[in-house]
Amino acid sequence: MTEPTHTKNIREIELPQPTASPMVTAFGFTLMVAGIVTNWIVAIVGCVIMFVGIVKWFGQSNPESKEMPAVPAPKPTPIVPRVDGVAHLISDSGHRARLPLAIHPYSAGIVGGLLGGVVMALVAVGWSLAMHGSLWYTVNLLAGCMLSDFAEQTTEQLYAFQTAGIIVGVMIQLVMSVSVGLLYGVVMPLLPRLHLLFAAILIPLMWSGLTWASISVINPALSEHINWLWFVISQISFGIVTGWWIIRSEKVSTMQNWHYLERMGIDSPGVRKMGEAE
């Protein structure tokens, strides 16, 4: 059994014989069920038909399944090696190369996201203090995206410190900052140029526009609380800090050309780098 191919005589291939018994059984079963909504006679007839089908089916598969030999058919066109070579995405990295070859480390994305998130929070809290004289206003507004009962609160209540507001608000900010930071780290090397412009200005602007357009329809009450100029400024501050932090990190190459043993950290002399010439 070590030969990779073994030829069978086609006549030796066995296939199950065609049979109507599954169809008859299914038909009988359906009639039986239909009897519930029509007439009990229908159900009786269905029962009988189903019984006939089952008996025939049993005969088809016992004691041995009834088989028939396969019929010879035209052969498929043999698959021959291609003479024209394979265009490689990147020279000498094999046909399985993936783009990008090097990415910013995930840690840069996470740290950058966290830094950006902190700066953004500072800007937002600054606005809250300057315009409303409350330290907690922005946090409560953010938490209101998830906490449904915040919608009924008065502005004074939103100014006040609330434990649930702090917990949920900080959680949202953390999760969003880290995920966006990670995304930045992966997506930025794919952009041809102007990385910082994208990260710092364009993406925050797009995001702000999207939020503005949807919030005013979805939640007009929340929308009234938001100062859009400051919103954009805080978004851009996030973009600048995160983008800057990621760009200044050193890119690491993906491990795509490594042998999986190497990827697991096993370094043995027998392991050859894949795609390397023998």
């Binding site: 043999p78 698959i79 021959v80």
Partner: protein, 211 residues
């Protein structure tokens, strides 16, 4: 495929990636999985309604007073012990002892039939003496649906078991069929196993709940 093996191929693949499990075992095993989710739903509904009934009679009025727990327990033992008999039957068949196979198999059928008769008597008692039917209250709806579907599965199993018994008596079942017979026994074990759950929920757990 049609080209000759290339010298460069490192290791010819092992014989077949799958080991030991026949199609039939997969098939019956998966059928049992789907049956478990089916029963699971019915039982979940039963548990959901425990203690929520607003019309009497409540489970403890019916299940404890008129049906001695002993009686149900007695029937259950018959059903559960039949799992052992069918296991012995398959074992006998594997060893080629057809006489022993028929004996244990017939014993399984008898025990299963006893369980059904017991269920029938219990139902008769409940309907006639206690006046509980499926439309009486939530308990009736749940009880007759869950226990009824289990009894229905026992009945189906009994029909198959009986047919096999007849075929065996006529000499059509040989040790060569042992794989298929084994699969039937899997189904029977499942029916027994599900009864343990139904019994615990309906007669023990649901019976003590305060309404």
């Amino acid at each position: 495929m049609s080209t000759a093996p290339m010298t460069a191929y490192p290791t010819p693949p092992e014989a077949l990636p799958q080991d030991g499990m026949s199609n039939g075992k997969f098939g019956i095993g998966l059928m049992i999985v789907s049956e478990i989710t089916f029963f699971g739903t019915l039982i979940a509904a039963y548990v959901f309604y425990i203690g929520r009934d607003i019309n009497p009679p409540y489970p403890q009025d019916v299940l404890e007073v008129s049906i001695a727990p002993f009686k149900v327990l007695f029937n259950s033992v018959f059903l559960l012990i039949s799992s052992v008999w069918i296991w012995l039957a398959v074992r006998a068949m594997r060893k080629g002892r057809m006489g022993a196979f028929i004996f244990w198999w017939a014993l399984t059928v008898v025990c299963g039939a006893e369980f059904l008769v017991g269920t029938g008597m219990e139902w008769y008692d409940m309907i006639v003496n206690d006046g509980v039917w499926i439309g009486t209250n939530l308990f009736g709806s749940g009880f007759y649906t869950v226990v009824g579907f289990h009894a229905f599965h026992v009945t189906m199993g009994l029909i198959v078991l009986t047919l096999i018994l007849i075929l065996a008596l006529l000499g059509h079942v040989t040790p060569r069929n042992v794989e298929k017979i084994d699969l039937v026994s899997w189904y029977w074990h499942f029916v027994d196993g599900i009864w343990i759950v139904v019994f615990s929920v309906v007669y023990i757990f649901g019976n003590q709940a305060i309404t």
